[in-house]
Amino acid sequence: MTNESKYRFVGTRPLRHDGVDKVTGRAQFGADFALPDMLWGRTLRSPHAHARILRMDTHRARALPGVAAVVTAADLPEVEPGPGPVNLRDLSCNVLARNKVLYHGHALAAVAATTEALAAEALELIEVEYEPLPPVLSLDDALAPGAAILHEGRAPKRYKVSGPTNVAARCEFSRGDLTRGFAEADLLLKRSFRTQTVHQGYIEPHAVLAQTGADGRSTLWCCTQGAFMVRHYCSALLGLDSAKLRVVPSEIGGGFGGKTTVYQEPVALLLSRVSGRPVKMVMSREEVFRATGPGCATRVEVKLGARRDGTLTAARASLWYEAGAFPGSPVEPGAMCIFAPYRIENLFIEGFDVCCNKPKTTAYRAPGAPQAAFAMESLLDELAQVLKLDPLELRSRNAAQKGDQLAYGPRFKEIGLTETLSKAREHPHYKAPLEAGCGRGVAVGFWFNAGMNSSATLHLGGDGGVSLVTGNPDIGGSRASLAMLCAEELGIEVERVRPVVADTDTAPYTDLTGGSRVTFATGMAVVEASRKLVAELCARAARIWDCEPAQVTFHEGRCLPTAASGLDHSPLSVAELAARMAQTGGPINAQAQLTARGPGPGFATHICDVRVDPETGRVEVLRYTAIQDAGRAIHPSYVEGQMQGGAAQGIGWALNEEYLYDENGALENAGFLDYRIPVASDLPMIDTVLVEVPNPTHPYGVRGVGETPIVAPLAAVANAVRAATGVRMTELPISPPRLLAALGLKQNGGAR
């Protein structure tokens, strides 16, 4: 696993370039920008979960002294859904409601005023008349006969049904012969699992500052996972030429998928265009919970057939995922992931995207996969228990290998699932004795990882330093990993590379920071650009030596004549060549752009020990180990950090986190006190083991690492709770009241 001999920087742990700014408070996050003459914007939000908007009157708000602009959906053009994966009409209606409000907290109007207090006062003066409609607050509500329909007259995709439905789409994957597969089984297991709505829980609320000049050109400063994404959506929603909009990404205080769309960004832009002044909008924590994200609630039904030796003969899954107010839950990736870690010849998977009166769900770290894995990995645990097999051994016997075909078509190249399972079995944690009242669980996690489009530009400075420009907001250390790849290629110190996260006018196009793609895909662009820069350096050396570029080679940061050339010149370093740029042909820059193919699938195996307090139902995580195939860990500390952070987030999801709604659809726990994410005293140290099975499509073998770690913990925790108590929890979170109820049921002989 060591690569020190092969690489100079890759695999080392340098200090991150943006580190000092972040430990001293100097780094500028979304809410840290201000401009002279700035107005404050605030949003009017629906007090109903489901209602028709009969009338809206903003006259009194506009008349309040100090109010400079009031906007509603009437100020936005009606847009077509568009050809892309995101329905722009829905996005527009989510940003400012048109005709109907679809969740408690749905934005209806916004005000810009000289102070925040005045803007809030103006909101009170906006009169809205609603016709309340019955709220649809769960999958069961949404799918019940006669349910209120969120989007009347809209036909579901790939789903035939007579009459209106809240199902927005259906997906299906199958292979082999399910009937035969189940007939070949010695044992059949079937169970249904549920998870609740959860939030990404980034600590930084959404924030934006918009400025528009008299020439109609605008600039937006905002915290986002993708500045180009913000530019595209804002331009499309406002009917603007994207050349008139510059988006400057601030430092981003967490996203986890939750900052891959727009909320108040187009509204702030609109307010600044109407008022002609800069407008700043910062969400409150309550607004973040009520109206952004969340990760979706699900029901997943799994049926497995297995032989006595544990071989899986067939598998069937049905997944229902809440989309929230508008279509677009991650049910399809959930369906694609659910059986991906295992070699199963006969399978059938169907998924349903279901609308309900909750905020539109947004991506949340490995979107759709944790909920699916919770179901599959829990049922596998049960299978191991029934067959009296070691749960890791059961998984090893069925583990997918290179060449195995996925339910959705492609075949795996090199993957590291088996290696993570072996490391888990060898780990001291797995062999450590357990005290009474404690239990140990394991689970496997899988995520595809994304490729998509990336670019990188390198500018060589006169002293041999390099500025590395990309457009990917650095959400967890990607400046460092990209700079390390560049330093490795150029043979210069990591500190001599200055990684810059630039705005949309300056950076070459890149897709957003998400899908664990930046070190993989933007990293590929950085490597390619670095190699172009090296080629140019060789050409410059050739010019100095009056030879052919082919007679020059590059090794460890220096150009030197090839052995075959027979030339005898002292090597020229990057710095020496940089100093002579002006005499050898002028500035040296390089750029690369690509669509990154072949992201490496990520696999992880997690081990979790818990202690259950039978009096209170509280579950304490005693020990946790995350083992993951990173392909190649460019900066191992930040890879470990992703594994630890994902595990912690997954533990919170398993034990505590859920949206609690009242019967009218108002969120009852819209704050960090009541929506309790794990705090330092809730967790133990999280041990990590890095496995490195290089991804053959990346020049350094990188796979994505950010999302895989949240997939396994839900089931790892639930399986540990089962081991500790004998009770299988099929619904998350395993909160004290839910666990106490289940333990009580067991005592009364009601549970298995």
């Binding site: 430990v23 001293t24 930084e204 205080g253 910062v282 924590r285 950090g641 704050g671 794990p678």
Partner: protein, 157 residues
Amino acid sequence: MAKHLVQTRLNGEPVEFLCDPHATLLDALRNTLQRTGAKEGCASGDCGACSVLLDGRLVCACLVLAAEVEGCEVTSVEGVAQAAQLHPIQQKLLEHAALQCGVCTPGIVVAAKALLDRNPDPSEREVRYWLAGNLCRCTGYDKIIRAILDAAAELRG
């Protein structure tokens, strides 16, 4: 409503500012005094991103009225490093890669300083409970705890 004149010391320097009676210390720091190191994550004292020291005591700046700091000594994250010299807590957070997005980091730095100022040799458990009011969603806390224990060891010499 008339504004209050507040005279206080911020990071060792005298400052005075005007504030609304209902304005929080966090408002004053961020919007009046342009010290944006303290972050607003919740405005309800649940996340700790706005942690500052008030006469050496750890507080959430979002829960303190600006007018209350009259005559006090306020230390914000901007005052933890001495000139260009990072505090050992800051240095160790960097060395341990104990930040990812970094938005909770200013609060963690200030809270950890408050801990080590009164307890130079805390146990892991003591660090975890002291930091229980500082939410971090990225790291799982592991590297933060290690960094603070390491900084404590270095400060003890």
